[in-house]
Symmetry: D2
Subunit: 284 residues, 4 copies
């Protein structure tokens, strides 16, 4: 895999941003292999993402960061410069439904997800065997309904010890406490098994069945304090009919969930997802 | 177009229904060209639809109805026997958005919708020209916000005078009064411009934009007293991204609305849609 | 899982087939939970599939077969009566691409594929570990380009010893010899990584890239002597653009291949696929 | 509608192109509202498209063109600078199938297609009435199989007299002579009623039916001398099954054709389609 630096920027829109940034990169001899921009006309905010061949620049990511700092200040940028050689460290959290976990582990092994998997945390023991087959550390943290605080303190410790910077709720059927949502804001990705905002909360496929919808869906989103209400990264659907029982909906749904979560996570890992209020800009 | 009788049945499920019905049809020499059945395991209700070549039977639809009556009673059937030579009479209702109306008129002329269009009713004059190009009577019934009763009395009179048995709200932006919903129960089809139950009510594309969803949709459903809550016939979606403004969503949405309404109406006209509580069985 | 008998029939179309068959089932007290029919107007052939609750019949599948035989003869039926308690025995064949194999093994374990997996045969050793994690016997049968006959004799022996009645080429990159195609006609399912008939043969994603198509696809079909030309069971596509390299196409394609093969195999195992000349009737 | 200049460029890739172009635009005070780039790694060619608010520049398109010329030469660019106030002039060509023509006329009237429709040319009289309802000049040019040359000389004259710069074959069932293909290279858009490269040539839906495919499609492409082999702009598909007759395929196909042609033409009119050998870059 080639070595890139990725520059991701958001700032108030004005004339000359692209000229300034691309001029800076060109001065350093930087070869841009992928460039995306977006101007949000409603909020007047500008977003950009550059993928730059690291070798073309001949400097470390730290040096490049220092050199870019004045431009960032000039345009009041929120920005980050990532080095693809420093892979993100991901924690997968799961309860008893295995499909998303197994799918992500397979894709990771197949090279589709450019990250290290630092560990799996579960409130059950069920997934230990498959996680360990992939040589991933497995942490069983039961959640005591009468003392969730202790459990989530342990979860937080595991995340921090693993130096993880991305947490994926791969059908983890517990609600994260606000403290964790806040601590890892923009780093926790959930898959919800409905086409949000329809059927938030529990048992969405049964809600969908009761309403008699003709399409079911899944939604990958960042976790915020408000349940199932964070910025949406990706959604997809599957057609159903009167023939299908709730069990069929759950089965179709598994495939949609897997696909949507895998795409959302991949884009997140490639720094393609920029949060904009309660929405996302996705340079996919 | 060939001449068919269509038998549509729903009744409590039990052993022997298909044998009895198909035996009866076979005794009369009836050639079944299309047969659909569905057993709803949750409610224990059975649904079926047969399409029978009229010429193979050699009897009028009335005679066939009389002959079938005892079977219907035996199995406590809700049933109907339709003659495709007696086309449904459809009233189209529209406000100012033309896309659904124009699409339905074109499909009707192209032979995709097997019905007579008995007239167009609108609270505006805008669509008169295109309706009349298709030689369809156009009725302008303004809706006075302070006296809706009078307007809808006129609407009802027009429907009844036209002997219409199907009313299509092709982006008719007025809410039908409960009396009309009840009088034409199961005969009024609406297109809602969202993926219900998400974004019921007004301005769904703007609601969708605000929520930052990645797919927008449209829903074709039977109208009931409760707004946007009737049995769903068909739904579909279109992918959107951060690039798209509310105006883009409206534009994409038009295509989804047209497609979904046309499919839903066609299935209704072909007696493929059976209402089952607040859901539908669609033998498409 | 409930216990069903499945009756699958194809015969020349004529009046009274459904009446005769459903009458017969009703006489035995049989409760039909799913019924599908199709009349092919072009060829005049009739197809049907019944799913019958075994307990409602109170007789063995052999007894039922004998009782049905006269009807089958009367209507010149090709027919089969399956007992869902007798699961099909499936052999998976694979080369070095793991995605389809891993996906099928997972779905099988999750209960989505109602069959026994009798073994994995591969011309490489790569997949042994994952197959054995699922406790499936693994047979390494190298294919010597100069003596394929010997290899395929061994393959045939393995299939026969395993009493397999379904062979899935889950990205098995060898061409089966005509003798095997004939011996297991209607039992060998292949996944081809293009939207057939486009891009038959080798390296379809590269062919697709060269042609600049905007959608890539995959096709699940029965294997016949003529390469990539057998009856199609299922197809699906994925959108691509100028941004995507052949590597991206391969990656997207993996997901389409997995989905299409899994659906096709599931339908085959549930006796939903009836071969009709070089086409299929799929009661999905 | 806002007033934009659109800069579209392709050239050999090298460091500094974006910096140079965006720097130039910024110097003139130009406000870029939409920017797209693509580097083709295989051919080493670079593509870009900028949408610039005309008012922010304060100069005519001619002045801007002159000012940009040195940069274009420096980088060996193929380029164009369009003024959205100078709308393209489109000729629609049609035979007897009305769906694409009617769809395009409606979208044009609804403001979805930013162009002037300079006329409709047909080898039949059938579409005169609807074209004239939209107040579009209609030209009936019969094609004599024994003297096609004369007919196409007349077609060419009509196109040139109309000062048209875009010709849409909206189900025009005649093959354009090589001379016209060459004269209007990159300006003639065709809709082919199959998922190319499958089923090129005549009666594609019947070919698809015979092959038993499970999806049918349509392809919008630029016309070149080789039949159905030009650069593909857009494709889409519709699911079909054994239930569907060739007539059904034709009916489903009409909707796919309309959608695909409308998208392709819209992108072409917005200068989003860049031809790259026999492929396209589409900045949609």
């Amino acid at each position: 895999m080639s070595h890139y630096y990725r520059l991701v920027v958001s700032c108030p829109d004005q004339v000359g941003i692209v000229a300034r940034v691309s001029g800076f990169i060109a001065q350093q001899g930087g070869s841009i292999t992928e460039a995306s921009q977006h101007s949000d006309l409603q909020t007047g905010r500008f977003f950009m993402r550059y993928e730059i061949l690291a070798d073309s620049l001949g400097m470390s990511v730290e040096t490049l960061r220092s050199a870019f700092e004045p431009i960032a200040q000039e345009f009041s940028m929120q920005w980050a410069l990532m080095d693809t050689q420093k892979r993100r460290r991901v924690i997968l959290m799961v309860s008893r439904e295995s499909h998303c976990l197994v799918d992500l582990l397979y894709r990771w092994q197949a090279g589709e997800l450019d990250c290290d998997i630092a560990g799996v945390i579960s409130n059950h023991e069920d997934m230990r065997s498959i996680a360990e087959w992939y040589r991933i550390p497995y942490h069983h943290v039961p959640v005591d309904p009468n003392n969730k605080e202790a459990s989530f303190a342990q979860v937080q410790e595991l995340i921090d010890n693993a130096r993880a910077d991305c947490i994926v709720l791969a059908r983890y059927m517990q609600i994260l406490p606000p403290s964790l949502c806040e601590r890892y804001a923009g780093q926790v990705i959930n898959i919800h098994h409905s086409f949000l905002p329809s059927f938030a909360g529990a048992k969405p496929y049964h809600q969908a069945y009761e309403r008699g919808v003709k399409l079911i869906g899944a939604t990958c989103h960042y976790v915020t304090e408000e349940l199932d209400a964070g910025p949406i990264i990706e959604q997809d659907i599957h057609r159903v009919s009167h023939c299908h029982t709730p069990t069929d909906l759950v089965r179709f749904g598994r495939d949609v969930e897997k696909a949507v979560l895998a795409r959302g996570l991949r884009w997140h890992l490639e720094d393609r997802v920029l949060i904009h209020g309660n929405k996302t800009v996705v340079f996919s």
